[in-house]
Symmetry: C2
Subunit: 356 residues, 2 copies
C-alpha cells in the first residue's frame, strides 16, 4: 500500500493505492459520519457495492445506482441525485462516496460540491482512467454543447484506490486508462514514457499496473498542488484533450471511450508540436504503440468543421482562440494559441494520415 | 460613498455603497474582461440595464433577462443561463454581473460558481433585502423540497450597491429588506436595534436608509469573514430563518416576501428564546414595530405539521434535529437544538398569538 499526500487549498488529503483496501475504509477516513450516501453505477454495484457497504455497519446508508456511461453525467441525473440526498435526509455532516469510474466520480463529486453548498466526499475509483479524474478535485457534468462545462473545483476528503477492482476491467477500459498514463508520461519524463512504450496493455500484470498508476498519480498530484484552479501548469494535463474532447462530442459520447479519443488527441498534439515548434518528438513510436495495442485510431468519420466548432467550446479558449497544449520535448509542455486557419491545416493533414 | 473590505478565503473584495455608482463600475473592478454577461430580471432590466450596459463600451456584452420572482431560482432557469453563457462563447476570463435582488444574485452567482468550474462575478444589488444576500458568497438555487438546497460558497469580485436604485422599490420590498436589517440589529447590538425601532419603513429617507445598510453590511461582513463556510458563527445570520424558510415553502414562494416571512420567524425566535433560555427580550417592542409598519404577521394558514416537515429540510439540521438560532440577549445569539415535541408546543402557542 502506498500513500500520496495532496495539499489542496481547502485541506490536505491522501490518495491510498493498494490491494484490498476497499475492505478497510474507516482507517482511511479522517472522521466519522452519521449518514453515508454511496453513488455508483449498475455495473460497479454488482461487483463492489456490498464490499463498500460492509465497512459501515454503524452508519445510516443511502445508495444511488445510476446507469452506466457518459449519458449519466447530465443535468437530469444530477438533479435526481440531489433529490435522493434531500429525501433521505442527508445533512451537512453526511458523506458522499463516489464508487466507480470517471463518470461516477465527476457526477457524485459535483453533487457533493453543491448539495447544501458542499458536503464531504471520497473517491473510490474502479477504473484505470479514473486515476486521473479522481485526483485534484475537478468535478463536473456535461452540457449538450460540450463536456464538463458545468462543475466546480472541489477536493475530496480521500481517494482510496483498490487496484484489485481493476482486474475486472474489460480490455477497452484498460486501453482507455493507459491513454491518460501515456499523457502523464509525455508531460513529465522520458523514463516513464519508455515504461509505457514497453507495456502491452492487454497483458499487463497487476504489479506493473500499480507501479504505473503510482507514477501517473504523482505527476498529477504535483501539478494540481502547484495550480489547483487551472490558471497555469494544470492546463498541461489537457495534452491531447482539445481534439480528444471534440472527437467525443462530434462522434457522440460513448462511440470512442474517453481514453481512445485522448489517444488520438495525443497523437495530434505530437504532430502539431513538431510542425509548430520545430521539434522532434517520438510520433512514430507512439503511433506504433497505439496500433500495436489496438487503439482505434483509424476513424472513418472526421469532420473538420464540426471538430473546430467543438474545440471552440473548450474551457481553455480565450477570446475565441483555441489554446493547445504542445510539447517542446518530452516533459516540457507549453500552451500555444493556435489560429483557426492553421488548426484547419493541421487537422486536414492529420486526417490524411489517419482516416483510411 | 463608503467601502467595506471583505476578506474571503479565496480573495479580498470591496463592498461599495453610494449614490449613482452604477454609472462608474470600471473603477470598482480590479480587472478588465473581454466578455460580460449581465443577468437581471424583467423589472430591473427596464429600470437599470441600460445604465449598467453604458459602462462597457469596449467589451462584448451578453444579456440574460429572467422572469421576476422566486420561481426563477430553479434548476431549469439555471440550466438556461448556462446554455446562454455557452452559446455566447463566454470563457474563463469573462465576467458575470448579477443586477437585481436576491433571486438574481443567488442564481447568477451559482451560474458563475459552476460555469466552466467558476468565473468571476459582481453583485449589483437593487433591493434592500439583497444587502444581505449579496455579501458573503452564498449562492444557490431552490429545490422543490426547500430553499437554497443546491449551491456553493463562492465570493464575488465586488459588491456595488447604488442606493439610488432603492428609490424605485415598492413599499412591500422596503418592508422585506428591513426585516434582514432587524435581524442584523438583533444579533449585533442594541443601539442598532433602537435605530430600527425608531424607523418608519414607509417614509425612511435615503440618507437614513444608507446608514442602516452600512451598519447591517458591517455586521454581515464581520461574520462571514470569521466563518465563511457557515461552520459556526455564520449560522447566527439564520436568526428567524428556520420558521421563515418553512413558511415560504409551505405557503408557496411569493405569497409572503422573504423579509415578511423572516419577520414572523424573528418574532418566533424571540418567543422561543424567552421560553427556552429564561431570558427577557423586547418581544413586544418588535411585535409592535412590525404591526406599526404593516408587516403581515397575522396569518390565516399555519399548518404546524407541514412547517415542521419543512424545517427538517433546513441545511442546519443535524441528525434530523432542528438547530435554531436563539438570543440570550440582544447581540448574543446561540445555537440550540430543539426537540420536535418542544418545537410543536412553541409553534402551537405562537399560532394562538398570531393567527387571528
Amino acid at each position: 500500500m502506498s500513500r500520496i499526500l495532496v495539499k489542496a487549498s481547502t485541506h490536505e488529503y491522501f490518495i491510498s493505492i493498494g490491494k484490498g483496501i476497499r475492505f478497510a475504509l474507516h482507517e482511511r477516513m479522517a472522521k466519522t459520519y452519521s449518514t453515508i450516501m454511496i453513488i455508483t453505477d449498475e455495473s460497479v454495484a454488482s461487483l463492489y457495492l456490498n464490499d463498500v457497504k460492509n465497512n459501515f455497519k454503524e452508519e445510516r446508508l443511502v445508495e444511488a445506482i445510476i446507469p452506466v456511461g457518459e449519458k449519466s453525467k447530465r443535468m437530469d441525473q444530477y438533479e435526481k441525485l440531489q433529490t435522493i440526498a434531500i429525501e433521505n435526509g442527508l445533512d451537512r455532516h453526511s458523506l458522499i462516496i463516489a464508487l466507480g469510474g470517471g463518470v461516477v466520480g465527476d457526477l457524485a463529486g459535483f453533487v457533493a460540491a453543491t448539495f447544501l453548498r458542499g458536503v464531504d466526499y471520497i473517491q473510490i475509483p474502479t477504473t484505470i482512467l479514473a486515476h486521473d479524474s479522481s485526483v485534484g478535485g475537478k468535478v463536473a457534468i456535461n452540457h449538450e454543447r460540450g463536456k464538463n462545462l458545468i462543475g466546480s473545483f472541489y477536493a475530496p476528503q480521500a481517494v482510496i484506490y483498490d487496484v484489485e477492482t481493476l482486474s475486472s476491467l474489460p480490455t477497452h477500459e484498460v486501453r482507455s486508462g493507459y491513454a491518460e498514463l501515456l499523457k502523464e508520461a509525455l508531460i513529465s519524463n522520458n523514463d516513464f514514457l519508455q515504461k509505457i512504450m514497453n507495456t502491452r496493455v492487454t497483458s499487463v500484470s497487476n504489479d506493473v499496473l500499480q507501479e504505473h498508476l503510482q507514477e501517473g498519480i504523482k505527476v498529477k498530484a504535483a501539478i494540481v498542488e502547484a495550480d489547483e484552479k487551472e490558471a497555469s501548469v494544470r492546463m498541461y494535463l489537457n495534452l491531447g484533450h482539445t481534439l480528444g474532447h471534440a472527437l467525443e462530442a462530434d462522434l457522440g459520447y460513448g462511440v470512442l471511450t474517453h481514453g481512445e479519443a485522448i489517444a488520438i488527441g495525443l497523437l495530434f498534439s505530437l504532430r502539431v508540436s513538431e510542425q509548430t515548434l520545430q521539434t522532434s518528438l517520438p510520433y512514430d513510436a507512439v503511433y506504433n504503440w497505439l496500433i500495436n495495442n489496438d487503439y482505434p485510431i483509424h476513424l472513418d468519420h472526421f469532420n473538420i468543421d464540426q471538430l473546430i466548432h467543438h474545440m471552440k467550446r473548450d474551457k481553455k479558449v480565450v477570446n475565441e482562440h483555441i489554446q493547445m497544449v504542445l510539447l517542446q520535448a518530452i516533459g516540457e509542455p507549453v500552451i500555444v494559441e493556435i489560429q483557426d486557419g492553421d488548426l484547419r491545416m493541421y487537422l486536414q493533414s492529420f486526417k490524411e494520415e489517419l482516416v483510411k
